[in-house]
């Protein structure tokens, strides 16, 4: 009962916020609604028992992708009202394409067949008495450890490559040296001079 209620609530919010992403006039609002949509989708994943995917959605999409969108929207001077001007004139054509796509999806759904043995053949079914986070971890760090570590190496190469090809050390820039600052002593910094009145320090 509660799960059904939660499902309707999450999917309702998801659809509503997805709609708002498209029609909001202010792009910053669009991005914020997008974040709300991601959160609702994460809720749906939790209801399905896929906690890991839910977590991933929030960490990756909300934490990284959406924030990046926000940065881009705020930093680039894109006039979104201008972009949307042709909306009404393109509406009929767009509607036809959307209808065809929807029809195709319905046709696929109607002819979809699942083999009776498919359930038993799943490569990685969640074992009994184990959360799917645990099961995923076991697969990732046991069976797929070789692939996992290799992908780590690929990412390392990408990082080194980006640094090699873009980083330029500028010479002649004064940088703050914290150790030099902290290590400075009173004797080096202050010199006591005996100045007679009317003489100044000019030598």
């Amino acid at each position: 009962m509660l799960a059904t209620l939660a499902f309707w609530a999450f999917s309702g919010v998801l659809i509503a916020s997805a709609f708002m992403v498209v029609i909001a006039r202010n792009p910053v609002r669009s991005v914020l609604f997008l974040i709300l949509a991601f959160f609702s989708a994460a809720g749906l994943f939790v209801l399905l028992g896929a906690e890991f995917l839910a977590m991933l959605l929030i960490v990756v999409y909300v934490g990284a992708v959406a924030v990046l969108f926000l940065f881009v929207v705020m930093m680039l001077d894109v006039n979104f009202t201008e972009l949307k001007q042709g909306f009404l004139s393109y509406l009929p054509l767009g509607a036809i394409v959307a209808l065809i796509l929807a029809g195709e999806l319905v046709m696929i759904a109607m002819t979809w067949q699942t083999s009776p043995q498919a359930e038993a053949l799943r490569a990685a079914a969640t074992p009994e008495g184990m959360s799917n986070l645990e099961a995923l971890g076991l697969i990732l760090y046991n069976d797929y450890i070789y692939f996992f570590q290799t992908s780590g190496l690929v990412l390392l190469v990408a990082m080194i490559g980006a640094i090699v090809l873009t980083l330029r050390h500028k010479s002649g820039v004064k940088r703050q040296s914290v150790t030099a600052q902290v290590g400075r002593r009173r004797e080096e910094a202050i010199e006591m001079l005996d100045i007679k009145p009317g003489q100044g320090i000019g030598e």
């Binding site: 070789y146 692939f147 290799t150 190496l153 390392l156 190469v157 990408a158 080194i160 490559g161 090809l165």
Partner: protein, 480 residues
């Protein structure tokens, strides 16, 4: 996975672990050591690391077997290729050091990227799963894209890097598309399981998938009609990087292609043999006729490498133990000659800087007889003139094709070999009979010795080759 299993699996991976761990350690060393000599130190240590990894592949990996649930395989083919790849990369690094220092490109990242690329290559020759195949290919290509553009202030090098990257990404896409089709129609990513699925009546989906996988890998070995990137990238990339491109990655990719075709898809030989047949003939043709009009030495070597990959594909089309043996012999001899030739190319330095036109070689035999003789021997060897070692490389390839009843392919291989001899002879003609125009400055010791040793080895390796033939045919072949 128990501790015993893990230690067994890891012992098979000794060279890979050494290379990956060593590359990271050297990166740390290079970052934390500050001083003018650091790049040189890291460079020399990386050469040591590569040689050590080659020895580890030969002596420390223990018995053959599979690791990580069949994702990784170690057999005679993998072991031999690993030794050849690490040594070729070590020699390429040896050639690179004086070049990088004189061109002010010496950075610690260069040797580290080479070490990581070699990690990818040694993983490629041991790949026994579609995922490990793709990951290894990506690891080596990504490092090579960066190396191609390493001279980032040069327009040509940046163009080469970008071109290589875009076309390489396209080929990775083809490879992945094929891999996903194969997975979908065989039900597994492991080569062992795919072999079982292929043994029955092969479905049209599997054939489609296989063709895409072949296309993706043909890009990596630069076989025609997927060769368009090769001349531009070879010309634009820094010369020692090109020396690396033409040797170790070629070996890794062609061995991977041979394994994919003969092990998981061995049951579909009737389907893929025609594809390989066509690619081989096209590559030999493009290599032979494309090189005839080239004026730039590096572009010429690019076409030469396309042509030579064609001969390697002839050996794969033979699809026999003899064929694989011939492939390994041919590729090893080719790598030795290529490294020597690039050493000669790196010796082409005048007071103004590097030159790379064929006309700059004019009269080399008079001005620099040692280099002239070495380059002459190397050109004879790559061209396959009897009785240099390169001739026997091609001879075994043709022999394996005849043995597998591929007579037309064998005849075409010989004909294209004759055509391609023309441009190797043209270089020799320029060296010996044209009037000298430019004087080269004395090259660095490492370049000097690599060129001389490679030059001499075109003749001195003949007894070793004879011994290999004797062993191969008296003990029997069991490479795969």
């Amino acid at each position: 996975m128990t501790a015993d299993m893990l230690s067994h699996d890891l012992s098979l991976l000794t060279p890979e672990l050494m290379l990956a761990g060593g590359a990271m350690a050297l990166l740390m060393l290079g970052v934390f050591l500050k001083g003018a000599g650091t790049p040189r130190l890291v460079h020399l240590l990386t050469i040591g690391l590569l040689v050590a990894a080659g020895f580890a592949a030969l002596f420390l990996t223990g018995d053959d077997g599979q690791a990580f649930g069949g994702a990784f395989v170690l057999d005679a083919l993998a072991k031999y290729s690993k030794v050849a790849i690490t040594l070729a990369a070590a020699v390429a690094l040896l050639l690179a050091l004086p070049y990088l220092e004189s061109e002010k490109l010496s950075k610690i990242e260069f040797p580290v990227l080479v070490a990581l690329a070699v990690t990818g290559m040694v993983m490629m020759v041991s790949a026994n799963d579609l995922i490990s195949m793709y990951m290894a290919v990506e690891l080596q290509s990504l490092a090579l894209y960066v190396l191609a553009a390493f001279n980032r202030d040069s327009l040509r090098a940046s163009e080469a890097g970008l071109k290589y990257f875009v076309l390489g990404a396209l080929s990775s896409g083809l490879l992945l598309y094929g891999a996903s089709l194969v997975y979908g129609f065989s039900g597994s990513t492991g080569f062992n399981e795919i072999a079982i699925a292929v043994a029955g009546e092969p479905s049209i989906g599997l054939i489609f998938g296989l063709v895409f996988v072949i296309c993706g890998l043909a890009f990596k070995v630069s076989a025609a009609p997927f060769h368009m990137w090769t001349p531009d990238v070879y010309e634009g990339a820094p010369t020692p990087v090109t020396a690396l491109f033409a040797s170790a990655p070629k070996m890794a990719a062609i061995v991977l292609l041979a394994r994919v075709l003969l092990e998981p898809f061995g049951g579909m030989i009737d389907q893929w043999r025609d594809v390989i047949w066509i690619i081989a003939v096209l590559s030999m043709g493009v290599g032979a006729f494309g090189a005839l009009t080239q004026q730039n030495f590096k572009r010429l070597m690019a076409y030469s490498s396309i042509g030579n990959i064609g001969y390697a594909l002839v050996a794969i089309a033979a699809a026999s133990q003899t064929g694989i043996w011939a492939l390994l012999v041919f590729m090893s001899l080719y790598m030795i000659s290529v490294v020597g030739t690039f050493g000669a190319m790196l010796s082409m330095r005048t007071r103004e800087g590097m030159v790379e036109q064929i006309s700059d070689l004019a009269g080399l035999a008079q001005t620099n007889p040692g280099l002239g003789w070495s380059l002459t021997a190397l050109m004879f060897s790559i061209g396959g003139l009897p009785f240099f070692v390169g001739f026997f490389g091609k001879f075994f390839v043709v022999f394996s094709a005849v043995q597998s009843d591929l007579l037309i392919l064998a005849v075409l291989a010989v004909l294209f070999s004759v055509v391609s001899a023309a441009y190797y002879l043209r270089i020799i003609k320029v060296m010996w009979f044209d009037a000298p125009e430019v004087n080269f400055v004395q090259p660095a010791m490492s370049i000097y010795w690599v060129t001389r040793v490679a030059g001499w080895s075109t003749l001195l390796l003949l007894p070793a080759l004879g011994w290999m033939v004797y062993r191969a045919f008296s003990v029997g072949l069991d490479v795969l």
